[in-house]
């Protein structure tokens, strides 16, 4: 009975103060941080990767011990599943806000990050997405929205230039999966190749749950494209590469970071050969802390999918800002985040006025002998 009353009053205190800091038996203050990514559905493997990256950072920081305003602080990571669905994203955002998180690392997809960002903005807590690259995310004028990865404008432009100068394409076809990410990337790519005077012979669409692309690829074949650009993720990119070969469509498949994964190689099998895809940032081996991160991460969770280093850096950027603000109060942390100048695993991280990373590099990879190898690093 007493225990219940105590719990209820603690709960009430938590709600009234609304700062998400809870008393603990050990005298530590517990600070909750949210991590959101799809943990069910077709992109689960990438989503779990983000969560693991963030968790590794949180565990390291807790092991080292964090002190804010003279008090020991323990971080608690609340991992939530947004199913890569925009509508679930806002529900999960509300759930995290109810749980009193002081910041959110996420979401994974641009399509979920953008609707959820409105919730975090209204609540005034910092949001750092490790992997949402759609331009629209930071273009909303939200002071609390940040990302630690080059955006689609940077990536799409770089890929477009590479398609024209590196691959010498004259006629290209563009496909996107109708998500904020895929569409945004494809639009930027289209802008870049059109600016270079290349003819876009077809603009086709699919979904992020499709597996059959025979119809649109046949159409593209009929229009004589030499290069097919796909804005989307590996579950579609892999079968697409196979179906291109099966249809005898002799064009180079080019994609963004959603396709530049180990899983893509497995799904496309032998047909992956010659596929080109980019990834924002430097290749893992060229990242300043890449080797050490890979060793630490793989010892605990197995192979890195894609964005784990970014989720890891996002947590560190957040905690560095807390340290500088000497507080976990969201408003102070947001202000401190603006001043970020952090040397992360993925490279130096600084934010511009919108919350985008300054001067993010884009690396273009090609599949050679069944593995991704670097073709060019575009700064």
């Amino acid at each position: 009975m007493n225990a219940h009353k105590w719990f209820a009053s603690m709960l009430l205190v938590g709600i009234l103060t609304g700062c998400g800091q809870k008393g603990d038996d050990t005298g530590e203050t517990v600070i909750r941080i949210g991590s959101v990514s799809p943990l069910t559905g077709p992109q689960t493997h990438i989503g779990k990767d983000n969560e693991n990256g963030a968790r590794l950072a949180v565990d390291e920081i807790n092991a080292k011990g964090l002190v804010l305003a003279g008090k020991p602080v323990r971080l608690e990571l609340l991992a939530e599943d947004d199913q890569a669905e925009p509508k679930t994203a806002t529900i999960v955002a509300d759930k995290l806000l109810d749980a009193g998180v002081v910041a959110v690392i996420g979401h994974l997809n641009s399509g979920t990050t953008i609707p959820a960002s409105k919730r975090y903005h209204d609540a005034g807590i910092p949001q750092i997405s490790p992997s949402a690259t759609a331009v629209a995310y930071t273009a909303q004028g939200f002071a609390n929205a940040f990302r630690v990865m080059a955006n689609d404008a940077q990536q799409g432009q770089a890929l477009g230039r590479f398609a024209v100068h590196g691959l010498g394409a004259k006629k290209v076809a563009i496909i996107d999966d109708r998500t904020a990410y895929g569409q945004g990337l494809a639009d930027e790519f289209e802008r870049a190749v059109r600016a270079a005077g290349v003819e876009v012979v077809a603009r086709e669409f699919t979904s992020d749950k499709a597996t059959d692309f025979a119809a649109i690829l046949t159409n593209i074949k009929g229009k004589g494209a030499q290069l097919v650009f796909f804005g989307g993720m590996d579950p579609q990119g892999g079968p697409m590469a196979r179906q291109m070969k099966r249809l005898g469509l002799n064009a180079t498949l080019v994609g963004g970071d959603g396709m530049q994964t180990i899983n893509f190689l497995k799904l496309a099998g032998a047909d992956a050969e010659g596929v080109v895809a980019s990834s924002p940032g430097l290749p893992l081996e060229a990242m300043p802390g890449g080797k050490a991160f890979k060793a630490k991460f793989e010892a605990r969770y197995g192979p890195i999918q894609v964005y784990a280093p970014y989720a890891y850096d996002a947590v560190y950027v957040l905690v560095e800002a807390m340290k500088r603000a000497n507080s976990a109060a969201p408003a102070k942390v947001v202000a401190a985040l603006r001043q970020t100048d952090y040397q992360g695993v993925t490279g130096p991280l600084r934010f511009d006025a919108k919350g985008d990373t300054l001067g993010g590099a884009v690396t273009v990879y090609g599949v050679k002998n069944g593995a991704w190898s670097v073709l060019e690093v575009i700064q």
Binding site: T44, R203, F205, A214, I216, N219, R242, L247, G269, A270
Partner: protein, 309 residues
Amino acid sequence: MDILAQQLVNGLVLGSIYALVALGYTMVYGILELINFAHGEVTMIGAMVALTVIGALLGVFPQLPGLVVVLGGVLVAIPACMLLGFGIEKVAYRPLRHAPRLAPLITAIGMSIVLQNAAMLVWGRQYVSFPPLLPQGRYVILGAQITDLQIFIVLLSFTIMGGLWLLVERSRLGRAMRATAQSREVAQLMGVNVDRIVSLTFIVGSGLAAVAGVMVSAYYGLAHYYMGFMLGLKAFSAAVLGGIGNIVGAMLGGLLLGIIEALGAGYIGDLTGGFLGSHYQDVFAFFVLITVLVFRPSGLLGERVANRA
């Protein structure tokens, strides 16, 4: 012309895949008037079991020819799915046989979610790739590319449809099935063991699902715990289009849906001058479905619904 031929081939193969799965839906509906929403998941389990066996076989006997390995996978997947189908009916549908029709529909959806998540726990969240074991021969017919596997899938759907039709219309078991479909009570009075017939229906349907699952994952080169969902939805639509409960209808509905989708995706953009793009492919397919249902509410061949199956 090449392109039209190619689109027809694309549609034919896609349609055959829908038809393979739709046959399972339509068979259960024909006997029980129950939409077995877990059927798509049984298909997925079939693919996953087969892939596990294929992986194990390749690990132990790397020298075996590809066809034998795949056949081994199929031969394990079929009984596994049969057992699963038998179990699903026992656990989720039999206790509700006399309940209002909505109740088994809800347990069907529940079963589908349970199977999906169970598969996620067993096989993980990763996409599993299907090793390239089957012959990859490619032919050009009227300018359209067609592979061995595609020809096989189309032939297989027609064979299975024919076999199923013979089973239902010509065999003793089929007669019992048709009797059960018409009236469970009267069939029972005539000495038909209704429980046994219903179980057998699920067993046969789930065996078919296993074959369909392996074909789908071999064709697309992947399997995933989520693959049954969309496939089930499309196959169910195909069954409704053809007239649910009718075996030839399921085949016809599947083929039509596949061809409409392929032609829709291929030509809608050019016909509307880029106003509507290939993202309207599903809209187009479902628009046709709705139009058909407005004029023929029981589907294209749905008239014979009186003796369902």
